[in-house]
């Protein structure tokens, strides 16, 4: 057997798995999206039907907000953690990356414990103002949950990027008269830009597709994964849920592809 055909043989398992569990169902999904009463127009319904469009916009906005806030929080924290040594630093980093170990359901559960009807915040506000603040089941609760599991992924990427930063660049800028703010603006943030794009894309993709947290919290919120679930299980509307799935996939894939061309490095979706 030649070496080349041996390599192809080694790739066979991957080819089988990809075809059986990815390509075929994907093709079926795309076809199913057009098998509703309106045919191919079923895809258009994602945009034309008010409820679907609102959900789509909602989801994108929520994912975008999560991404931006995560980047701000994680950049400041990651920079500080990478540049300073203090007792308890290792423990703090371990704690910050803890949410990676939890499934979305647990994150949702924790949000309920914090801001639900029996939650900590509601309890406190009840005693102080005689009124219960409950926001776990709204889009704010969901936002908080997404933030919670997005920050660790981004923080680790930022910390790695900060570590690779040449301290000489900052020193050179300072020697030329740049204030600490100018150094951040002109040198540090531009140097971290690829890390922002890469980790931001992951945060966005994760927030777009996260289901567990939404499922636990979402009584009043419509986000795309929830909508797909309800259309599929409750309304048995296979065509629409398939069309929505394809739409969700396309948007997320597009954002990741965009990030990849910007950063040049591999960006993997998660969640």
């Amino acid at each position: 057997m030649s070496q080349k055909s041996f390599v192809w043989l080694c790739l066979l398992p991957l080819a089988v798995v990809t075809t059986a569990f990815f390509l075929l169902p994907m093709a079926r999904l795309v076809v199913a999206g057009a098998e509703g009463p309106h045919g191919l127009a079923g895809y258009l319904a994602i945009l034309t039907e008010g409820r679907y469009r609102a959900t789509l916009i909602n989801t994108v906005l929520l994912a975008a907000a999560t991404t931006i806030v995560t980047l701000i929080v994680a950049t400041i924290a990651g920079m500080f953690l990478q540049r300073h040594r203090f007792p308890g630093r290792a423990v703090l980093i371990a704690m910050l990356t803890f949410p990676l170990a939890f499934p979305g359901v647990v994150v949702g559960f924790m949000i309920i414990l914090l801001a639900g009807r029996q939650g900590l915040i509601g309890d406190l506000s009840n005693r102080m103002f005689g009124e219960k603040f409950v926001f776990a089941y709204s889009i704010y609760g969901l936002f908080l949950g997404y933030l919670y599991f997005s920050i660790p992924r981004v923080i680790l990427t930022i910390m790695a990027a900060v570590q690779k930063l040449d301290v000489g660049l900052e020193e050179a800028a300072r020697s030329l008269g740049a204030s600490p703010w100018a150094v951040q603006r002109d040198v540090v943030l531009p140097a971290l830009a690829p890390a922002f794009v890469a980790s931001g894309a992951i945060a966005f993709a994760t927030a777009m597709g996260a289901f567990g947290t939404a499922f636990t919290l979402a009584t009043n919120i419509d986000v795309l994964p929830m909508l797909i679930y309800t259309e599929f299980t409750l309304a048995a509307n296979f065509a629409t849920s398939a069309a929505l799935s394809v739409g969700l996939g396309l948007i997320t894939w597009f954002i990741l592809a965009l990030a990849r061309t910007f950063s040049g490095s591999a960006v993997a979706a998660a969640g």
Binding site: D166, G168, E171, R174, A178, A182, D186, A191
Partner: protein
């Protein structure tokens, strides 16, 4: 020494540096650098030369009691961004997100210099450092030598009072390093700014320095002009670090060094049971056997081109390195005579 130069006079006073983990990087040192002078801090890695440079730059704070003065003004607690120093780093630290021109103009932009004036200054520096035509290149499109010039142009653009260079040629290959060294020398002379130059390369130190500070293990071993540290090293470390040196240990009797291969008159040589003497290889002349007081046998001959390195054993307790003209015919096994002028024998303090 260039006394009519530009820039600031620098004085560091009792500046030591102990790092947070307790490592002593620099013993308290006092040093004066004249206006317009080029001072080279020379020593092996870990000798404290970079720490001293960083203290002068304002990137490190000296231990309590240490002071840094520019033109008599105490700058110890002034941060680097307000010291008006130009700095060239070993890694060059050019901003990858800016073009060559933007790199050079950065310090001027920070200072609020108007655009036209910045452009004029960039044009002037690009011409001075021989990088005309590269203004709009990105940094990753430059060769090592070009990067070095951009780094220098950027540091000089702000008309600094002091120019600080941290091993600026170390990252380059040997041939380029030699070429850039003489170019840098011409440039520093033309600029006439007070310059502090850190290197571990003694050839660089010799060519560029008005004075050289030889450092060892966090302390200053000797300060002097290149000629002084070469011809009159204070101790064995300096003698061996600067250029090549034969270190001979032998007794002195009535002003005469007694070697296994003969006797040599020595200047200022009081009687000593054992003396440490330095002999530079190029001060030894090879003659025919028996013609001179000192004789030995040729061990090996290495032809280097402009000269040849002959190793002679038997003359001293250890083989002597001799730099001879490339015209001399000598083969391993030949018996030769060696002649050394009395003032070429340099008495060094005995090591404890």
């Amino acid at each position: 020494m260039n006394t009519a130069g530009h820039g600031a006079a620098v004085r560091i006073e009792a500046c030591g540096k102990t790092f947070a983990d307790g490592t002593r990087a620099l013993d308290p040192a006092t040093l004066d650098i004249a206006r317009g002078e080029t001072l080279v801090l020379l020593g092996p890695s870990g000798c404290g030369k970079t720490t001293m440079l960083r203290i002068i730059a304002g990137l490190e704070l000296p231990d309590a009691g240490g002071k840094v003065l520019f033109d008599g003004k105490d700058m110890t607690s002034v941060p680097i961004e307000r010291r008006n120093v130009g700095m060239v780093f070993q890694s060059y630290a050019l901003f990858p997100n800016m073009t060559v021109a933007d790199n050079i103009a950065y310090g001027l932009k920070i200072r609020g210099v108007p655009r036209e004036e910045r452009a004029a200054r960039v044009a002037e520096l690009v011409a001075l450092t021989n990088i005309t035509g590269l203004e709009n290149r990105r940094i990753d499109q430059l060769s090592g030598g070009q990067r070095q010039r951009v780094a220098l142009a950027r540091a000089v653009a702000i008309r600094p009072g002091i120019l600080l260079l941290d091993e600026p040629l170390t990252a380059l290959d040997a041939a380029l390093r030699d070429r850039l060294r003489s170019e840098l020398n011409r440039l520093l002379r033309a600029l006439g700014i007070t310059t502090i130059y850190v290197t571990h390369d003694q050839a660089e130190a010799m060519e560029l320095g008005d004075r050289i500070v030889v450092m060892r293990k966090g302390a200053i071993a000797q300060i002097g002009t290149p000629r002084e540290v070469y011809f009159a090293p204070k101790d064995r470390f300096v003698a061996e670090f600067i250029g090549a040196a034969n270190i001979v240990e032998a007794p002195i009797e009535n002003g005469v060094l007694v070697l296994p291969g003969g006797r040599l008159p020595i200047e200022g040589g009081a009687t000593a049971a054992i003396a440490t003497v330095m002999i530079r290889p190029e001060t030894i002349r090879v003659t025919s056997a028996g013609a001179d007081a000192l004789s030995g046998v040729v061990d090996s001959v290495s032809f280097i081109g402009d000269r040849q390195r002959i190793v002679v054993s038997g003359a001293s307790s250890k083989p002597l390195n001799v730099d001879a003209p490339n015209t001399i015919q000598a083969r391993a096994g030949d018996r030769v005579g060696l002649s050394i002028a009395p003032d070429a024998l340099r008495l060094l303090p005995s090591e404890p």
